[in-house]
Symmetry: C2
Subunit: 346 residues, 2 copies
């Protein structure tokens, strides 16, 4: 087998596309010389994907499970056909090709930091241990890492589920920290969806980078949670889909529009509120997979808003280490993540 | 009438949304105190929108015209429901509200620099002078500018259609120039779709900002045109939807991946090629309304690519002036635009 470091050799259709854009991957378990095979333990579905499935099936867990199985069987990967998104997985390294440069050893427990939407996946247990009602999916099967994939060893000092939840969103705090550091100290940062996983991490990273922060949340219960864990300087209520409400809440909390606005809510229609909340010369970072490219581009133009708008890249060098460090050193982050895992939301 | 500077008072549904996100606007001709009414002369449909309509109706101009009329009647604006995009228009200032701060006078000939997707529009001539086979749509009717809209006076020294075509894409060269200037002199810049309107402008702006440039085009006729007008240091052929082909072409032309890659082709599926063509630490600017947010975000993550990805904001201060200056001072830009207007493509 001749292999490509980005997995082109696993693409069955359409020809020439990369694995993420492919309709169908070859998920067979035999590996090429630079590949790694994992024995899957658990999938973590992307929040936007899980929400779409749960809504479509009106909360019927068995129907959600059936559709996930159908998607994986048809596509050779878990990529939600509506949202385009996937998630990540945890597994044990099973076999390492002689030319792999990922530095993994058989027996290592790892989380994949590339999306499920491009990871060849075979499920062998029919997801029998999953009730279809949570993003966390216990699973048996095999997954393949390419030559240029990214996987992080799960640290021994953290429960696997917790480490996985943190690494799933580790791109958000890393990119937030990088962007905030490009502004003078004391930058104003608004995180829309601040009580969620990527949102709370982004708040912690922004504050560590010297920012003054506000977390915007939709309901009082989320506000109480975020206040309790103490990750934001200010907490304010607003519906992220209501542009004027969001902008007003941000401006009141920070005494001015934000220099950096981070969008971490997985519902459509948050683009305009984010733009309207951001100062001239500011930056909006969109991490939600529900973001509409054209709504963002045309919204900023229509508001005559001179803001830089970033597509949240899930990969920033050192992202897993930064996120795990925040988890270890910020009690508020750990507390919030542990609760999120218990109640299976966010 | 109480008016909002961003046009909230014109939104009929859904309540609370901004005009761009609205399903339906009130396009009635009576203006509020900070509004301006234009007498429409010509619409310029966004390239992605026009292509979608032309493809859907298999090139049947009468059917395209009928659908545009239906959209405007139903929505109170020309926003393609599939692409979400609009375009812009040229008109004569008809009435200026006493509190308008746009600096316009009745009789001024202006181009709107906010999208048609948020501009209240009434068409009164049934588009009788349009054959439905070009993005340029002669039209009669009225359009409304809000307190915080942007419109530019059409210069006397340029034909209206030419100035309009240039101003329609003026965000691209302005943002390209800004991003290229943030890299050291001699930055490598690749423009995918370099022979189109926004692409050729971006090439000219990048070179003026000190870059070494390559224009990537899909077919030899485009390559010949781009070579002839001399706007790119290198010209190379590749299908923008084929990631490996694009990346190989860019790397051969520039002897390395690009520091800045600008995507100006209005077809879906160009995200991965752009990411793969860009060096670590580089920037991709997406100007195509056909860009998929999730394909870009997950593609970069899946390739472990540390690239900054920008949503091309159509508004950058001074954008119209910069674009008109390029048109006046770069004969290659003018030559290419004049041909594009003649053959109604690109």
């Amino acid at each position: 087998m001749t292999t490509s470091p980005v997995g082109l050799h696993r693409v069955l259709a359409p020809a020439g596309s990369l694995p993420q854009a492919a309709e169908r991957l070859d998920a067979s378990a035999a590996i090429g010389p630079d590949e790694v095979r994992l024995r899957v333990e658990r999938l973590n579905l992307d929040a936007a994907s899980f929400r779409q499935l749960a809504t479509k099936h009106d909360g019927d867990g068995a129907a959600v499970r059936r559709e996930v199985l159908e998607i994986v069987a048809a596509r050779g990967k878990m990529q939600n056909p509506v949202t385009g998104s996937g998630g990540m997985l945890v597994g044990i390294v099973d076999e390492v090709g002689p030319e792999s440069s990922l530095g993994l050893q058989p027996g290592d427990r790892v989380a994949t930091l590339v999306s499920l939407s491009l990871t060849p996946l075979l499920i062998t247990d029919g997801l029998a241990r999953w009730d279809g009602r949570s993003e966390q999916v216990p699973a048996e099967g095999t997954a393949i890492l390419f030559g240029r994939s990214i996987a992080a060893r799960i640290p021994d000092d953290l429960p696997g589920e917790l480490a996985m939840a943190v690494m799933d969103v580790c791109g958000a705090p890393a990119l937030t920290a990088r962007v905030v550091s490009s502004y003078p100290p004391g930058a104003r940062v608004a995180v829309i969806g601040g009580a969620g996983k990527s949102g709370s991490m982004s708040l912690a990273a922004a504050r560590r980078a010297g920012a003054r922060t506000v977390g915007i949340v939709p309901v009082e219960a989320e506000a109480a949670l975020l206040r309790e864990v103490g990750l934001a300087d200010e907490v304010a209520l607003a519906d992220a889909r209501d542009p004027v409400a969001v902008a007003t809440a941000v401006e009141r909390a920070l005494d001015a529009p934000a220099d950096v606005t981070v969008v971490c809510v997985d519902v459509p229609g948050c683009e305009h509120g984010a733009v309207l909340s951001t100062a001239e010369g500011g930056t909006v970072i969109f991490f939600s997979m529900a973001t509409s490219f054209s709504a963002a581009a045309l919204g900023a133009e229509g508001l005559a808003a001179d803001v830089t708008m970033l597509i949240g890249n899930g990969y920033v060098p050192g992202h897993a280490e930064l996120a795990l460090d925040l988890l270890r050193t910020e009690p508020g982050v750990r507390s919030l993540f542990e609760r999120r895992l218990t109640d299976s939301t966010g």
